[in-house]
């Protein structure tokens, strides 16, 4: 359990650094490191498929996308963040953590426990047989993303000008 808590602390620390860092490149790399630790945590929780996806897609692909956009825009460094927002973060975080510790357990105890049968079979059985319809939805989401990117980078026709 302590190993998992250390990984969770690393995820929160690197995520906070990703949000607060002035340099966007450092932010993107910090986000990738946070995803890496989250992926390692997934492996520890006996979820290797989720871990592989987290490390390869979130830590890999999304970081590449962020880097690409930071390189293409270059104006990102011109935006000055509010100093109050950066300096006030630790204070707000401590206040949130205290409220969380006091309130959360009571709130979660009120949630009704969902009863579910114990799982059997393999990951493939669950993914391809139980959740077939979701996979169609996933394909739809990917296609929607592809078409959205295509639409956003559409070349203007000469007739329109």
């Amino acid at each position: 359990m302590w190993g998992q808590i250390l990984l969770l602390i690393a995820v929160v620390v690197f995520s906070a650094f990703a949000v607060l860092a002035k340099d966007l490149i450092k932010s993107a790399i910090s986000l990738a490191v946070a995803s890496l630790f989250l992926g390692l945590l997934f492996f520890q929780m006996r979820a290797p498929y989720a871990g592989v996806f987290e490390i390869s897609v979130v830590a890999g692909l999304i970081t590449v996308l962020f880097m690409l956009v930071i390189a293409l825009t270059k104006t990102g460094g011109d935006v000055r963040e509010s100093k109050l927002a950066t300096l006030g973060f630790p204070l707000f975080f401590v206040v949130f953590a205290v409220i969380d510790l006091i309130v959360m357990k009571g709130l979660l105890a009120k949630l009704p426990a969902l009863a579910g049968p114990a799982e059997s079979g393999t990951f493939g059985d669950v993914l391809w047989k139980q959740r077939t319809f979701d996979l169609v939805g996933q394909l739809g989401v990917i296609l929607a993303g592809v078409f959205a990117v295509l639409a956003l980078f559409r070349k203007r026709d000469n007739k329109d000008e």
Partner: protein
């Protein structure tokens, strides 16, 4: 639910706070997207932790994979929008988008 679940949910809540803080206080559009990413991490952590504690890890994994796919699609589209915003306004400052107000 055992105490391990409360620990996981506590850290997921901390991640959610970090993401929301970024969305509420940051001015750079890319930082806002990083905030959205952090909130996505919080969601995947909650899903997997609940599956782990309730011995439903296979179903939780397939849900996490769904969330990751949606997240990638969202970020790709949003980053394409960011590039267009940077071309039009020559800045990534979210306050300059207020010009779009009718």
């Amino acid at each position: 639910m055992n105490s391990a679940w409360f620990v996981f949910i506590g850290f997921a809540a901390a991640l959610l706070f970090v993401g929301l803080y970024a969305l509420l206080t940051m001015r750079n559009v890319i930082k806002l997207l990083i905030g959205v990413e952090v909130i996505g991490k919080s969601v995947t952590l909650v899903l997997l932790a609940t599956g782990f504690v309730k011995n439903n890890i296979l179903l939780a994994q397939s849900l996490v994979i769904t969330v990751i796919v949606v997240e990638v699609s969202l970020i790709a589209t949003a980053l394409a929008l960011v590039i267009n915003i940077a071309r039009h306004t020559k800045s990534l400052d979210v306050r300059k988008l207020a010009k779009l107000k009718g």
